[in-house]
Symmetry: C2
């Protein structure tokens, strides 16, 4: 073992301390006053979409199910909680045996969502559910923010492939999750190697400006790159002068060069000029990739330009202006000693929520288009023939349903997203700010 | 071992695949064409501050040094790279022995920065330096975005304590890094338990609305919380009606209740009303904490209100409108066969950089206020008696300087930030959008 001091990435790391302190102090108090084992429902949802967004995309489901599996307190973590007097010694003992053994049901990963959509419900006792708030929200809020931005870019790209290249613009571990979320929302590939290893996402990338600058001339750099990667590679042509760069690229690689990448300048005019130049040089099959601070708006503006693919960095992994999905996790029901249930909710007008057990369905019209998000409290939501029920089991008695996990679950989420995006009404496909594409109806 | 299948958090996880694919394809080509061992300088910097910001705060230094230590390829990672044909078999062999053994120098963590400040320079050969671009940028771009936002909140709070409570609004692992960055920039405490365990940051938090909703009455919830946590605890009083909540809180806890927390409503008027009510009930020492979607602007607007501390969530861990610091990592110099150095730079006007080896100093006037960021190319920056040199060694021949690491390094960065914030001229302390507080002068 050359690197015995570094653990392989497959070793699970405990997620149990990725938690706000008050979750554990509430647990501590609940174990003391006898409320810890009251059966409860906790619901994860967004009160509203980020301002101006037409729809949101659920992401994080598979990651959360895996994080719940690893939500176990290690001896070292327990020692920290004991030394810091976060909870009483009796509670430390309880935590040592903690394992989530409840049910989880909710929206499939890749599904669209709207105001108040009941995305995940945790069915367990108070003690087991209260501790998951922070972790569940962290996973969903970031992953869904990225997926929601990425899906708009997928619409804007109109079938041209999108590559995610934003790892350097966000936290190094968040990047792996964000890459996965972008892939679910329609991106074709990513620069992030760990996302490739962990989730089976296709990876891509050839060279940066540093490669050209390392060499005495651009021509030397291109020759060396082609030597290593073949003529099917993509050459970055804008380190010095794009016109000369393209000319050199084709001279060195010949007319069968795979592609050129442009990372600066006014992209519509530059792309058109590069296409003309490539065609004149006989490189009619050489593709053009553009990668200069693209957003969904910049992608949409390139629809008429001769661009073959887009590389998107900052905007996708920072949620394109909405870095968090703003979801919350609320106690919505608790069981009474007689077995009946009480719906509970906070009173505040602006930050309140609806108590009670939810069901949800998407109402679909005769043309296959969504018309409403139906949210039913204490009853069944799908009441019309074309209503599509939205809740599926995610975890049963602590066991995650296998279909949501790993690379296969990620691919399934991507396929599901592509399907349900077809249901979005024309108004929902607009890039401009506006109201949610469909209303949320409580019934 | 109750949880033998979960590794303790102290086990280092390899960071080597938190990397864009093109870093490795460039390495592969460099090993082939003989440029891999050319001595180089790579520089990490921001071309400009986020739009409207007066200054930035360096964060991520200690974390990056620790991540470099763990940048070792495990057998499983190498197998992935081999199976995916990311690089040639000879390059896999080279990666198996990879360890960063170069020098790193740059700004101290907690330092202020401005346009083009040369924040980190990596002095090594091309092969060892090119691979670090993605990881170094991920760490600095997120941590510095959070620290830069947090420092503005520290200014706005004018000495009142700030608690970071935003873990749920960002990726679960990013949250731990973000908490650390906020602490460096002046926050007093955090809700995040792993940040407490890992970096020694004080943790806080008592109860959420779920605690009140779990009980039949608010009074029962308060009684149970005081039973578990003592009267010094903070009670959340806005689940139903704030006036009744405060009255119940003091009736149950007595006039020596530690604090009340308000998480909704119009905070200036609500805080004033709660203060009057508490004083009338004899609870003149009971503190008021507010936590309702605070930003630096909302904090500044509460300066005249009877608030004792602030809890900040979303805005701090998402960079308050600037989720990334937008830093880049560029090859700036390479050595020639004769031992001389060539400065290299990309030509593009909008996205260019200055080649060459940099030094930097902050020019300070007679009153101790910063007047300019002096960036010297191939010479010494500090030329006037009060110039403060900004570059310090961070890593020498692959060994990180201990003073930057761990909880002690984090505290040192926090102290350094508090000191250098005093140098900021009045114009730099303004919350409004504007120009950088001081100009960056290339000399």
């Amino acid at each position: 073992m050359r690197n015995a001091n570094v653990s392989p990435l497959t070793t699970a790391t405990s997620t149990a301390l990725l938690t706000d302190r008050y979750e554990l102090t509430m647990l501590d108090a609940a174990l003391l006053d006898g409320t810890a084992d009251i059966p409860c429902l906790f619901e994860l949802f967004a009160r509203h979409l980020p301002t101006g967004r037409r729809y949101g995309v659920v992401a994080g489901t598979g990651r959360l199910l895996e994080a719940l599996r690893d939500f176990r307190f290690t001896d070292e973590q327990l020692a920290f909680l004991r030394d810091e007097h976060v909870v009483r010694p009796e509670t430390i003992e309880w935590l040592a045996d903690y394992r989530y053994d409840g049910n989880v049901f909710g929206y499939r990963e890749g599904e669209l969502y709207f105001d108040h959509s009941p995305l995940v419900t945790f069915e367990t006792d108070f003690a087991h559910g209260v501790m998951l708030e922070t972790l569940a929200l962290s996973v969903y809020n970031y992953d869904s923010a990225v997926a929601s931005a990425a899906s708009r870019m997928t619409l804007a790209a109109r079938g041209r492939p999108l590559a995610e290249m934003g790892s350097r613009r966000t936290n190094e571990t968040a990047a792996v999750a964000g890459t996965r979320a972008a892939y679910i929302a329609g991106f074709a590939a990513s620069s992030n190697l760990e996302a490739g290893r962990r989730w089976g996402i296709p990876t891509m990338g050839t060279a940066a400006h540093a490669w050209t600058l390392l060499h005495d001339t651009e021509e030397e750099a291109f020759r060396a790159q082609i030597e290593a990667m073949g003529t099917d590679t993509t050459l970055l042509v804008d380190t010095y002068d794009i016109t000369k760069g393209v000319e050199t690229a084709i001279r060195v690689a010949g007319p069968h060069l795979g592609g050129v990448r442009i990372d600066s300048g006014d992209l519509p005019s530059t792309a058109a000029a590069v296409r003309r130049q490539l065609d004149a040089l006989g490189a009619t099959e050489t593709k053009i990739t553009v990668t200069n601070d693209l957003t969904e708006y910049a992608i949409a503006a390139l629809a008429a330009s001769p661009v073959d693919s887009y590389g998107v960095g900052t905007s996708v992994l920072t949620g394109s202006g909405h870095a968090t999905a703003g979801m919350v996790y609320k106690l919505t029901s608790r069981q009474n000693p007689d077995g009946s249930w009480t719906a509970v909710q906070k009173a505040s007008a602006g930050k309140g929520h609806r108590g009670g057990r939810k069901d949800a369905a998407r109402r679909i019209d005769a043309r296959g288009r969504a018309t409403a998000e139906v949210i039913a409290v204490e009853k069944t939501a799908a009441t019309q023939p074309d209503d599509r029920p939205l809740l599926v089991p995610l975890m049963q008695r602590g066991e995650a349903l296998h279909e949501h996990l790993g690379a296969a679950g990620t691919r399934a989420a991507r396929e599901h997203h592509a399907r349900v995006l077809e249901e979005l009404p024309p108004n929902g496909r607009r890039m401009s700010s506006g109201e949610p594409a469909i209303p949320s109806l409580f019934v």
